[in-house]
Each structure stands twice: as structure tokens, then as C-alpha cells.
């Protein structure tokens, strides 16, 4: 009888070990993936994918492309944002700068995040933003208006049939997320 019991215990221990192994293996996969990416260099982001060679920086002055600026507010976002210009005619390969102005109409300080989107989809990876208010979140005090700069360039490899590009920003209210994150940070910093 005692032999049987010890056998059962050993079996259970083995099972527990297997469970621990499975869990840790599953958990480890994520860092392992990072290692995999570092080793193979397979991970890429959009910015890297269109990294420009010096040759591409050549301005193509023979071509004019219309770029249209647009903006939307997401649910609950009550800023008033408008682009300085509704549209520009640009040469691919040259950096242009424009700005959006944003006014926080509320009586509270708010943090917003602009998310860019490009139409047509085919043009997405050829629109290179060298400086953009969408790289960081934006904090605007109550009732204040700020001008937010945007520098961009169209990659000269933009498919020839595209002569109009729409760059649209959607603003999200992330005040709550940011304050939660800050609280978490400060809570952690104390320890």
C-alpha cells in the first residue's frame, strides 16, 4: 500500500513539474522571440522599412503631388484642431513643414494622442514624417491653444499613379491613461 502511495506522489510531482515546465516555456517564448529577432534581424517597423538612402533624398522637382490634411476627434475628445493648410502641393524628396493648431476648449488640462493614417493605403509607407506631434502625446492646459509642427517628406518612390495623398490625424483623449500610468510610476518609484 505504501509503495502505491509513494508512486502516486511521484506521479503527481512529475505532473506538477510538467505543468511548471509548460508554463515557463510558454512564458519564455516572448523573450525568446526577442532574441530570435535580434539574431535574425527579422523584426522591422514601418519606419525602418522605408529608411531612405541618400539617393532617395533627391528632390523630384518634375513631380507635384497634392497632400491633403485632415483631422478627426475620437469619442470624448473635445479639442478643436485644425490644420494650418487644408492642402499643399509638394515635390517628392523634399521636406516640408506645416502645423496643426489645437485648442483645448475644456476647463481641465488634457492629454491627447494623435494617430496618423494615410489614404490611399498604397501611399502609407512613402509618407515619411521627420517631425510630428504624433510622436509624443500632447498636453494642453485648459482653454489654451497650441501650434503643433509637422515635418514630412514624400518618398520619391511613391507609385506614379498616386497624385493625391491624404494625411489624417485622429485625436484620442488619453488623459486618464496617462494619469494612471504616472500614478503607477510614482508608486513604483517610492519602493
Amino acid at each position: 500500500m505504501s509503495e502505491k502511495t509513494s508512486k502516486t506522489t511521484r506521479g503527481a510531482a512529475k505532473l506538477a513539474l510538467a505543468a511548471v515546465f509548460m508554463f515557463s516555456f510558454g512564458y519564455l517564448l516572448v523573450p525568446l522571440y526577442d532574441v530570435f529577432c535580434d539574431l535574425t534581424g527579422l523584426r522591422f517597423t514601418d519606419e525602418e522599412a522605408v529608411a531612405l538612402t541618400p539617393q532617395e533624398l533627391q528632390e523630384d522637382s518634375s513631380r507635384l503631388v497634392t497632400i491633403q490634411f485632415d483631422v478627426s476627434m475620437n469619442q470624448g475628445m473635445s479639442w478643436q484642431v485644425k490644420p494650418e493648410m487644408r492642402e499643399m502641393k509638394v515635390h517628392p524628396g523634399r521636406v516640408y513643414t506645416t502645423f496643426y493648431s489645437a485648442r483645448n476648449k475644456t476647463v481641465d488640462e488634457m492629454v491627447g494622442q494623435a494617430v496618423p493614417s494615410v489614404a490611399p493605403i498604397a501611399a502609407n509607407k512613402y509618407l515619411v514624417k521627420t517631425e510630428c506631434f504624433c510622436f509624443d502625446n500632447q498636453t494642453i492646459a485648459a482653454g489654451e491653444t497650441v501650434n503643433m509642427p509637422l515635418s514630412f517628406m514624400l518618398n520619391p518612390r511613391l507609385p506614379p499613379n498616386v497624385n493625391l495623398v491624404t494625411l489624417s490625424y485622429t485625436f484620442f483623449d488619453i488623459t486618464k491613461n496617462v494619469s494612471t500610468a504616472n500614478q503607477l510610476d510614482s508608486a513604483l518609484a517610492y519602493k
Binding site: A18, F21, M22, F23, F25, G26, Y27, L28, L29, V30, Y33, F36, C37, L42, R43, F44
Partner: protein
């Protein structure tokens, strides 16, 4: 006189490994592709699942390579059970041993084939079907009746 009783095993561990490998390549490939888009949470699930699949198939193969060796001589019946090496040996005195096919308490349920000796019982061929169990019991019985006692 010796009987080697073993369950049916239609492939090899190697074939099982091939299947696991093909699924692992497919699943990890998909999960890595998603992870490349920032959706890494599929990876751990794939890992867990492939582990479970491996464990399940491994256990199956382990079970399928089990053997029972029943040796009968004039003095003893020895039942050795194990996989690559003997894990458990049971001995009965041949003269005092009967092979019994116990009926199942439930209709349509297969019985148990046991070696019974002086109140001790040992089931053999539990993994067999009823037909095979019958066949095995007949063979053992005839072997027992042919034993020439010294």
C-alpha cells in the same frame, strides 16, 4: 513456453515526431508572423499547445511499447511487465495457477483475464480486445495443460 503480449502500435515515435514538427513549424510560423506585428500574445499559447501535443503523443507511444512477457515452465509462471527493461515481475507456482476469464459486471463490457493462484490474482493483457483475450486465455490454458510436472 513464453507469450509476449503487447498492444497494437501502428506508427513509430519518429512518425509522431514528424507530425509534431510539422505542426510546430506551422503554428510557430504563424505566431511569429503575428508577433512581428506586435501581437505577441499568440506565441505563449502556441508554446503551451505544442507542449501539450508532444506530451500527449509521447505518453501514447510510451503506453504502446509496454510489454507483458508470460513465461511458463514446470515450476513457475513468471509475468514480467515493462518497457525496455523489466519493471515488475510476478511469480506463481505453475501447479497452483489457473487462467480465468472474469466476466464483466456490465453487459457488453469486456472481462478481465487473470492468473489466479492461492487467492492471488494478476490481470494480463488488459489492453487487449475481448476476442484476443479469449485467444490468449485459450493459448495459456493449453500451455498449462501441456506442462509436464517434474
Amino acid at each position: 513456453m513464453q507469450f509476449v503480449v503487447t498492444p497494437n502500435f501502428s506508427t513509430s515515435w519518429k512518425a509522431n515526431q514528424t507530425l509534431i514538427a510539422s505542426l510546430a513549424v506551422l503554428s510557430f510560423g504563424m505566431a511569429l508572423a503575428f508577433a512581428a506585428h506586435g501581437l505577441w500574445m499568440i506565441l505563449p499559447f502556441v508554446g503551451l499547445e505544442i507542449t501539450a501535443l508532444t506530451a500527449g503523443l509521447y505518453w501514447c507511444c510510451l503506453k504502446a511499447t509496454r510489454r507483458e512477457v508470460i513465461s511458463i515452465d514446470a515450476d513457475y509462471i513468471t509475468v514480467a511487465v515493462g518497457r525496455d527493461h523489466v519493471v515488475q515481475t510476478t511469480q506463481f507456482q505453475t501447479a497452483w495457477t489457473k487462467i480465468v476469464l472474469k466476466p464483466s459486471p456490465v453487459a457488453a463490457h469486456p472481462g478481465q483475464l487473470v492468473l489466479r493462484s492461492k487467492g492471488k490474482e494478476l490481470e494480463v493483457g488488459a489492453f487487449l480486445s475481448q476476442d484476443e483475450r479469449l485467444e490468449l486465455s485459450t493459448s495459456i490454458r493449453s500451455a498449462l495443460s501441456n506442462v509436464v510436472y517434474s
